[in-house]
Point group: C2
Chain length 144, copies 2
């Protein structure tokens, strides 16, 4: 199930980027911060339009030349990485909500579920055309 | 010494983002790729204007709202993390060189050496004003 992740909720403080409350260097706990370190984006909570948690950020895909995040790759869970799937979304499909302390995706779950995705052992961005495929899906796909 | 890192050169293929040639999932080896994953930026080689390696990328500091990389934090070495120091530079102070497969910094080494820096146990970006301090340094500092 790509939704409802009670285990993750339990180990993550709502509205927090804190990945490991037990400590560790440089953990991001202050949601007023404007910047996030590239090595700290993983685990940032992602919400749907209703404010319900639907997953977390796996990583950002950054344009090497412009420095602009082009895609946010969402993880919809899978316990201990088993069955985890990664869903890339165009950056413009998300907005950062300071109060929630995470990203909000205004896309139907149904539409997300049939969107381009890949497994933990795949790296489709090796092909520069993959991004265009993702763009096309979110631009034109019907909500089915 | 912030320069000359023969050990790093030895374990990193020149012009490559390959961090661990012995393997691992999703290692970025193709320099024609337009995008880089946020969890793979660490270790990207940084060159001076003459094309000499001066360090590596430690991380990117990304604006959570705009998705634009605001600062690139460089690491000037230190063996096994001992004595490692991190040097944040405004994104605009670097440019990606496809042929070199890394970032080029057109800033004097002397100027870099007296620039804002921090240690592995520090996280100055907790203070949102820290970025402005970095900006100011690279805008106004004399080459001394």
């Amino acid at each position: 199930m790509p939704t409802d992740l009670p285990q993750e909720r339990a180990i993550r403080k709502p509205g927090s980027l804190e990945l490991d409350p037990s400590g560790g260097e440089g953990v991001a706990i202050d949601e007023t911060r404007k910047l996030i370190a590239s090595n700290k984006v993983e685990g940032t909570t992602v919400y749907d339009g209703a404010g319900d948690e639907i997953g977390t950020v796996h990583n950002f895909m950054v344009d090497k030349v412009s420095g602009q995040v082009a895609y946010v790759v969402l993880s919809f869970g899978g316990f201990l990485g088993v069955g985890e799937s990664y869903h890339p979304l165009p950056w413009r499909a998300l907005r950062y909500d300071r109060q929630l302390g995470g990203y909000v995706v205004d896309v139907d779950r149904t539409r997300l579920e049939s969107a381009p995705r890949y497994g933990a052992d795949e790296d489709p961005f090796v092909d520069d055309e993959y991004g265009a495929k993702v763009d096309a899906y979110y631009r034109t796909a019907p909500t089915s």
